[in-house]
Symmetry: none
Subunit: 297 residues, 5 copies
């Protein structure tokens, strides 16, 4: 088991540290771990994600779920933040997602355009901002350019910056796809090099190694892979994403391996709210049990 | 042996001169030569560069290595600077690399997008900024445009500007490739013409002359080639890059020839840290022996 | 013989007039003619242009040559201006070239990206700025857009604007090439229409008329052609470029015909410095003899 | 003896810390103490301060004296920095004084107008900026307003901010004068409260207690007074000013008491250069002996 | 005789150096000395200054006089520059005076408001700007504030900055008046400390020592006084002002003493044009004879 990062080691300004302290020590389990609820699927995939459990299409239901489940924060786009957060402002931390896109055009040159600012996040009382970086996309020039502005604004205003580091685009598809150990490993490092305070990655799949660089074709266990990903992120706190809905035991296994590897926490959306209310809370309770075993310090 | 450039001959403003004096005379051997440690491979190639020696993936290890080895400075991206430099601030000079890219998409129209500013460098206490210029790339319009902003900001703020002058792109591949004497020679000159204070080049290979312009097909020795490259850079101080890991004797031979030709110093990364700690320091000691033989003045 | 343009006829602002007066009446022969030394070949063609006479690769040698030869000004890029002009500031006028490119990528969609500003020129004490306009290039949208900014800045700051009007690109190649009377004639007019104060053109070749428009297929002498080009430029002063190295008598013949046609002067680089020092000065003396015969007024 | 402040305890950004590390550990004794040479008397009092030793009126002599004496830095106004620092850039650290005034008008409503910016300091390669705050002046509205801009710029650019905290103005004169324990004690605290990284104060005189508030009328030794002043400054490093020329033993006594109280260093001008060259260096050697006894850590 | 300042010793940027080289070596005697013609009296005193010689009220007459007399430059306000300089642009250098005032209100709190910008000067083709600083005025806060902007713009644009350093205001009147050695000495130093490239002062009167500080009450000759003033200005070139019309021999004596003391030149207005045309030129010829005896280098 690796050491979990402590806030005092990360070179954080007072403002970033104050907000991260709130996120990690004043909410959720309060032990330095994080369980975040992302709810940007209505933009990223469209409302078809809510067909199975239509109540999940109601943002008010989700904000209340975050409160009931004892989440450390909820990540939403600016429109939902304006309309739903005021009513629960301060009860559960807000992570304002600053960019996003529909999945209607092709992802070959994927780029997630910025549609809100760090100042919007300050105005709304958010404790962090989120930015999706499509690592490996041929559109990286535009991506780095808009990320730079977000990073500088976040630095100036003392706002923690969480990067959704997603391998994506034609070149990634030719080199093993977006879930390979190679792709996730590289993505975590890129987020760290470019200035993320936290990085959200998908769980790496070392067994997907067709066409990846030679270094990644060995027999790695998933535990070894997630440990390498945490190391690649160095002083950038790591969040493991749930991704699309899968079996609970597989998800919990991922959670254990991630926390054991030194991740700071989990960011699970569809695996939480794509079921009925009470089942959601029962699954969240099991995730909290994992986090309770891995306090920071 | 050629004369090495002196700071007082280069038309430098007080701020650029103060910072270059610190880099060249207050650190390293203090004799006007430079030994820099570049550490941007985590972004440029991904963390696979650290597989053989995983400790090298930890930026803190590298910053300490720069201190122990008596380097004149360390070149890193803004994210690592934010997270690791504060703890060693002022102990070893910082060169903030302002642009960079992953190697996932094709290099045919290579462009290294800017993701940090000269003002970031000032804020972090850096003594120089680095910019990668892909000489010969079809994307030179975008490259020159973003370089212009960097150069003007560096001029305004008295910040030395080091250009990684890398021949790259489809047209270079058709004219002999990125390591030919022709390509390196041209790249050094372009950096000087566009306003670099220092230029980092790969060691030129005069024997690679398939498809290069006629002038370069003669029988040049590598010593003649590096001398021509130093002259092409004129009042831009020249750094020779180590490139990918090779044999020590070959590297030291390059170092001797470069310094003898009038280069200001060396910028060696993988050849330094892609070995274990004590071996790294032993190799650095041998590089310092070379530099000690070629003081400025 | 045509009348040479006088400054008082050109609708110039006080600042442009002051600087042009200095260029034309306080340097060189001081008789309203101009002999400029362009030295941007290190960027445009690379250092191979200096292979035959390596000393010519040293910008300091060239600045001194401009002084010794009694040139009216020297045209260089910003990097060389920063590093070499300070030592001779004010002794020979500086023309700052604001754009330029390498010749590595294809010229099919030629565009010369701006890498310095009119304010850089003011800061460095220049008396004019130079801009390369690739007349006929498919990239003319980008070209005109960046030219517009340069022209407006030059107007605001009273800085004379010299346009290197070069026919270039795939379409020009299909219509007779870059040196035809047709192409040069058109280029001179375009510079005048878009706002150049001075225009630099290649000497027109009326005998190259394959595939040019019908109007240019007649039997024009070179004297008739250059006269037409001067007229096309109207109140834009015209400079005739030396181009690549050729025989001295041919060059002097061009010079006579140009000045006799009403050109303001000559801008000769490689024909001057691609020989040894004393031969350079002897050739310059012969060019000055031509200019002395064609004073303005 | 009190503990001296360490850089790692002060909440400093990387840039401020890098520059302070250079000032305190890479120059002077390199032991965390400071000996600064202030040279703003030509503006503050006029050139009559140089009558006794005219050579001291030559800024070049003073910069060289700072080098010979092993000072940690020299504090000058922008005009002298432009004209004299370039020649010694980086050899001795520069503290750019951002405000100043003549002593011709009355000091009743003393205000020191800003005539240079933090960006000027960055441009010139300075390692700190200096600002004179006239504590207690009726002009404090204007003073605090311009200080706020300086502090914010210094924060944004990572530039250490040294405050000359001088009690001054009609109200101070009515309450015991500018050198009283009361006035100096209050001034040190004000600098700390408003955001100074370092504060320069005059040595407090507890025996001057006519008309001061009751709390200061007791029998305090000078050692007790300077200890209280250091405590009042809390995490703002304290520099003790030499003031006008006095006896060497008295000055050394002040130096011992100050360092023993936990001050970071001394800033002595007239007591250094208002004597001949060799005597200056002998006196500096005695000051260095004091500082050597009080290393930080 | 003192050494005269050389441009290469002053830390000048290329642009400032180019323009000063033109002023000092391409006009007037071309020997590094200066003879400037100031013509701002129409604003400063009103047209009554032209009553005796009405033709002197015509700016065109004055510009031609500057040309005929071989002056190094003419100093005028923006309105006259717009209306009269275009016709002579480049023939005689322009010094654009950026501030000025009428003498109608009291001088107790003298301040000379800025009414033109450094960019206006660039636009008009000027080779320097002039700024009146009222040293010692109670309005020094506003004065320093506007001077700062002018200095920074001049630095940014490479424009030499000449300061009319005039002791003025109620406090100066109480301390010996504006022409005392004390006042002139202090004024020269203030201009240097605040960032002037050249300073214009009145000739000091050591015999006016009522109420001046003690240091100035000794028996100084005028030669000793002007030497001290030149030293106080250090690397700021010094111009001695003619002031109001006086006897020719007295003026020439001032000129000799000033140049012998190391001044760079003279700036004489009323003493030149408050006489008829031919007498003006005869007097100018005598001034040129003085300057010819004191070449720089």
């Amino acid at each position: 088991m690796s050491m979990r990062l402590r806030l005092s080691h990360c070179g954080l300004s007072a403002g970033k540290r104050a907000r991260l302290h709130r996120l990690l020590y004043k909410h959720g389990l309060g032990n330095g771990t994080a369980l975040f609820l992302p709810y940007d699927q209505g933009l990223e995939h469209g409302p078809r994600d809510f067909f199975a459990d239509p109540i999940a299409g109601d943002p008010r239901y989700i904000v209340k779920l975050a409160l009931e489940g004892g989440f450390n924060g909820i990540a939403i786009q600016v429109g939902l933040a304006e309309k739903f957060y005021w009513d629960y402002a301060g009860e559960v931390p807000l992570i304002l997602k600053l960019n996003g896109k529909t999945d209607i055009p092709s992802d070959e040159r994927a780029l997630s355009p910025v549609h809100a600012s760090v100042e919007d996040a300050v105005r709304l009382g958010a404790d962090a901002v989120g930015y999706t970086l499509y690592v490996g996309s041929p559109a990286q020039e535009a991506d780095f350019a808009q990320f730079r502005t977000v990073r500088q604004d976040a630095q100036r205003l003392g706002m923690p910056l969480i990067v959704w580091a997603y391998p994506r685009g034609a070149a990634i598809e030719q080199k093993g796809g977006k879930d390979s150990f190679y792709a996730v490993h590289y993505a975590a490092r890129v987020a760290s090099e470019l200035g993320a305070d936290m990085v959200k990655v998908n769980f790496p799949h070392p067994e997907k190694h067709t066409a990846v660089p030679d270094a990644y074709t060995g027999d790695f266990t998933s535990q070894q892979a997630i440990e390498a990903v945490v190391r690649a992120a160095n002083r950038t706190m790591l969040l493991v994403s749930g991704g699309s809905r899968s079996g609970d035991d597989a998800m919990l296994q991922k959670a254990y391996e991630s926390m054991s590897a030194g991740a700071t926490g989990l960011i699970f959306g569809r695996n939480v709210w794509q079921r009925d209310h009470d089942e959601s809370l029962r699954f969240v309770a099991r995730l909290r049990d994992v986090l309770a075993k891995y306090p920071t310090e």
